[in-house]
């Protein structure tokens, strides 16, 4: 990992998107990097579009403020592609990851992604429902993000999912989230 990697997350309030950014920061920190994770603070309502950001680097991070040119855009709710400009500021080598049941090729068309940009799709909500019975897609998205971007290794991520959920939830929920992260990693498809 050379330069700083900047990530923008699009989600809806209550979906766990901010938690996903936090878990990713923890995972990247535990392998010795420098990290930032922060949401954009606005009116905090369940269901409202929200953005969160990560910066990950081998060197100290000094830049504050929103990520303007994300190397990775992770979209936790496919309906946001119609509601907000999810491709704003995306560079030519941007990687998009979308939580959707649709075919990744269809998603590519929807995003009007450039040929140089990569598009991945994962049915993260379905995986979450299968694994722990609640439509909270962040663990499966994080698994998919590992595979699609290589920003962190799966075993490091799983450890941090365990740590993060271990503080608040029962073993059944933790195991379900671990399983969801693994399945996200396996089931993500490029289009």
């Amino acid at each position: 990992m050379g330069d700083m990697i900047e990530i923008r997350w699009h989600g809806r309030g209550g979906q766990g998107t901010v938690t996903a950014a936090k878990v990713l920061a923890d995972a990247c920190l535990s392998k010795g990097g420098y990290v930032q994770a922060f949401p954009e603070y606005g009116p905090e309502r369940a269901g409202a579009p929200i953005r969160a950001f990560n910066r990950i680097s081998d060197h100290a991070i000094r830049m504050y403020g929103p990520v303007l040119h994300p190397k990775i855009v992770s979209i936790a709710d496919a309906t946001l592609m119609d509601a907000v400009n999810v491709t704003e500021g995306s560079p030519d080598d941007c990687i998009f990851l979308v939580n959707t049941s649709k075919d990744p090729k269809e998603v590519r068309l929807k995003l009007k992604a450039k040929d140089t940009q990569k598009v991945f799709a994962v049915d993260a909500t379905k995986i979450a429902l299968d694994c722990f019975g609640r439509p909270l897609p962040n663990s499966s998205i994080l698994g998919a993000l590992c595979k699609a971007t290589g920003v962190v290794k799966l075993d490091v991520l799983l450890e941090n999912v365990k740590k993060s959920f271990g503080k608040k939830f029962a073993q059944k929920i933790i195991d379900g989230n671990i399983e969801a992260a693994k399945r996200g990693y396996e089931e993500v498809r490029e289009g």
Binding site: A25, V35, Q36, A37, F38, I61, R62, Y64, L68
Partner: protein
């Protein structure tokens, strides 16, 4: 070596308070400082600290209780933001005038009206003249480090004054970033045992606090307060030297970045200094000789040291995250004061930025540097005070 963690600025400051274990905290919640004291109150609840937490009905009462507890002979801390600090206003002067070493993280936030919960320095700058020492932190690590050093500085027998440790609301207080914690035992050793001076609770030696002093000696009292402030920088540097021995992290009265051979300088505090450093690197790569000076200690203000650090530059832009309406930005006024002590007189401009949490983006730093290049060439300043990052 301590533990490396990914935490928010608030979390890091709560951790510092936990490690310091003050005798008394009196607090009232206000965004964005709420989260800091709420985390600390969990430590109290869970028995991780011995602190007596006094939950009061306003910030005026919070500071009043802190003053009472400090005069009684305790190590005392609280935290606040914005309107909370504004409501403390009269008590801030009493804490300083009574020379009580209270330590207070101030999570910087804009002032009403209009209501705004986001970060700017209006609150801290409003307390500029209260007699508190003020430190501004660029990131969560600095907020944590400054808070630990603050107790040593405040309680030093040559100082014995209250200290505010500022960080940018939300931008730092609520962002998760890498922080290196110091081991509990090392913090405890560094801060040392609290030694009460003239405690009210020493009943064998009764004393009185808060006397009436009229025209006979008030003027002398205030001069004495000024004299004490002039002793603070030496203590601040001593404490910083000890801190560097413990952690390897170096602190001064201010930080300079690529300033030694610079032709132009930006003076800016807190998180915006971090962003500015990244942009300075980009201009340096193009051969532009631009540097940065980031004040850490705003009160007392290190005029002479700053004049020396800036003496070789031709043009300076001072970026204020607060305004004095109808006047100049508060940081500008201080830097201008320092410039007046120089033989060379660089051109100085004042940019007001980031009020109410408006993002300080790279293009704003670029605009400032581009203008500085022209000013350094021509020696002419078109507009002394200007708002940047304004939506037109």
């Amino acid at each position: 070596m301590g533990k490396i963690v990914a935490v928010t600025g608030n979390e890091a400051c709560a951790q510092a308070l936990k490690q310091i274990n003050p005798d008394v905290c009196a607090a009232y919640p206000i965004t964005p400082a709420t989260d800091l004291m709420q985390r600390f109150s969990s430590f109290v609840n869970d028995g991780k600290v011995d602190t007596e937490l006094v939950l009061v009905e306003s910030e005026h009462s919070a500071m009043s209780a802190c003053i009472g507890a400090a005069a009684a002979g305790g190590r005392v801390a609280t935290a606040t933001s914005s309107q909370g600090l504004a409501l403390m206003w009269e008590m801030l002067y009493i804490a300083a005038g009574t020379r009580l070493p209270i330590v207070m993280p101030l999570v910087n936030r804009a002032l009403s009206a209009p209501l705004n919960i986001h970060g700017d320095h209006s609150d801290g700058m409003g307390a500029r003249d209260t007699g508190w020492l003020q430190f501004y932190s660029e990131n969560a690590q600095e907020a944590y480090d400054n808070l630990i050093q603050a107790f040593r500085i405040a309680e030093h027998l040559d100082v014995r004054l209250p200290v505010m440790v500022c960080m940018d609301g939300f931008i730092v207080s609520h962002s998760i970033e890498r922080v290196e914690y110091i081991d509990d035992a090392d913090v405890k050793k560094f801060v040392g045992k609290f030694v009460p001076v003239h405690p009210l609770l020493d009943l064998d030696k009764p004393k009185s606090y808060g006397p009436l002093i009229l025209t006979d000696l008030y003027h002398e009292y205030k001069r004495a307060q000024h004299e004490v402030m002039t002793k603070a920088p030496r203590v601040v540097l001593e404490v910083a030297a000890d801190f560097e021995k413990m952690t390897g992290r170096k602190y001064g009265l201010f930080e300079t970045y690529r300033l030694e051979d610079a032709e132009m300088a930006i003076v800016v505090m807190s998180s915006a200094a971090g962003t500015t450093k990244d942009i300075i690197d980009r201009y340096r790569d193009k051969g532009v000789r631009i540097g940065l000076l980031k004040p850490r200690m705003f009160r007392p203000f290190p005029f002479a040291e700053m004049a020396d650090a800036l003496k070789h530059v031709k043009a300076i832009a001072v970026l204020d995250r607060a305004d004095s309406f109808g006047g100049m930005g508060p940081l500008y006024s201080e830097v201008a004061g320092a410039v007046m002590q120089m033989d060379s007189k660089p051109a100085v401009t004042n940019k007001i930025f980031g009020l109410g949490g408006r993002d300080y983006l790279p293009d704003q730093a670029e605009y400032v540097i581009d203008e500085l290049i022209t000013i350094a060439k021509t020696g002419k300043v078109k507009t002394v005070k200007e708002y940047i990052g304004v939506r037109e």
